[in-house]
């Protein structure tokens, strides 16, 4: 059986710990059997001032950093509702996994993750608690949010086009003689080959696969509903 990352290289955990604790002195690391838990209070700091604090627990799963850290607010302060982006098991939906290349790319550290999406999320929560909107907006729930994301990323609202792109993003390889997903009818190599190659370095295959499956089941549901007339 494959060894867990924190046992493969114990110095990695030590380095991560000292890096995180140099900034967040109240976060503590607790290695468990096949994962690592981080617990404590997370301060929302701006210009040296602590604007708020949240009691959090972060779980680094056994296949971290392949799998994203799981963030939970454990102080019982944020409602466990869709509108507050906390699912019923208490997990925070910080961002859409497909956009992890932007905020949690390979090589980025746990400290980057805390200073980036985790901080963004809690700045937003504090504002929402005070009756303000999410500072950068929010994705719609579930599949609709996926469509919104790819519509923005690809510059099209056409679901069929989005699905063709997702199909190519899901594949282990793409070939130049294939038809371009944009719908021009041209071969990929004569159309959006470079753009697609670039996208494939960003969106992970497994994320694309998952999103594609979600959108396919969504369209099936819609067809069933629409076909009932």
């Amino acid at each position: 059986m494959k060894k867990h990352w924190h046992k493969l290289d114990p110095t990695l955990l030590e380095r991560m710990k000292s890096e995180v604790q140099s900034v967040f002195s109240n976060l503590h690391f607790y290695p468990a059997k096949d994962r690592v838990f981080i617990r404590g209070s997370f301060p929302v700091i701006h210009e040296g001032k602590i604007l708020d604090r949240y009691s959090i627990e972060i779980e680094l799963p056994r296949n971290y950093p392949e799998s994203l850290p799981i963030v939970r607010e454990v102080g019982g302060r944020i409602p466990q509702t869709a509108d507050r982006h906390i699912n019923p098991t208490g997990e925070a939906c910080l961002f859409l996994p497909d956009e992890r290349w932007k905020v949690c790319h390979p090589g980025s550290s746990l400290l980057d993750f805390l200073n980036g999406p985790v901080r963004n999320f809690f700045v937003g929560q504090s504002l929402v608690e005070l009756g303000q909107p999410w500072p950068f907006g929010e994705w719609s729930h579930a599949s609709v949010g996926i469509i919104e994301y790819y519509a923005e990323l690809l510059g099209t609202k056409d679901l069929a086009t989005i699905l063709r792109y997702l199909d190519y993003l899901s594949k282990p390889k793409i070939k130049g003689h294939w038809k371009c997903p944009c719908g021009s009818g041209r071969r990929l190599r004569n159309c959006h080959f470079e753009e697609l190659k670039d996208l494939r370095t960003k969106v992970r295959q497994d994320d694309a696969q998952r999103s594609r499956q979600r959108l396919i089941s969504l369209t099936k549901t819609l067809e069933t509903v629409g076909g009932g007339e």
Partner: protein, 303 residues
Amino acid sequence: MNENEYLREILKSQTLAPGSEELKTLQERRAEVEGLLREQFHESSPTIRYGGSKAKGTMIKEAYDLDIISYFPHDDTSAGETLEEIYNNVRDALSTKYYVESKPSSLRLKDADPSNYGVDFHIDVVPGRYTDNSKTDVFLYRSTGEKKRLKTNLDTHIRHIKESGLIEAIQLLKLWRVRNGLRVKHFALELLVIELLKGKRSWVLSRQLKHAWEQLRDNSETISIQDPANPTGNDLSELLNAGIRSELSSVSERTLQIIHDSGWEGVFGPVEENGEDDRGRRIDMLKGAAAGIATPTRPWFLP
């Protein structure tokens, strides 16, 4: 400002002033809970009052736990024949209004309103039955462990804390607990502090705290606590199980290291003003923080 002045300032910023919004909210909730229980169990006329940090004077802003005890007369059976029945009936009564989480001897109340679902009120309702007519000792139901009931006495607990002369150390260590995400229960932490600082009540706060952390760092495996209301009868070992002991030990070690390296502010943070929280100013500051974010993200939701 020397370290003890600093600690006093921290304590001051954590005090819930009489008439403060937080206290008013707590009092309203207590009245609500009491009303509900009195209505449901009017035949039993239970004794309902504050327990926990509210009764003991150890409450702090950042971590208030409000216990509301509901003790039934020893010869009353209308609330339930057995302790377990009483516990279940009180839970059912509370469930008509709250999202109730069952804990070993108490019932934690959370918001059941769909828009605030799961928000923790930090209120524990503790059902029990007096052991006799003197209305002093109480039996509590216990859903876990070997013994299905434990004997306790709220007044003994309150006296134990108040007479310890260690209220301030307890308050600061409760703040330390919440700031560091420790899972030790408030009740166990209070007993622990009193045990560790026995004979040290005349020491200044900073020395008391350092001593407590040194003890936790070095002797976490052997320290034991007893329930002052039933020293030999109630087994508290689960409150200090191996996981909790090791958390206490490693965080204590780290805390002492921080004080050594960078001073006390690393532990409790800068002194924050305890003024009226100006809502508009808070919003402005948070918006400023948002405006400075280089890589924005939008939250998503997957049911």
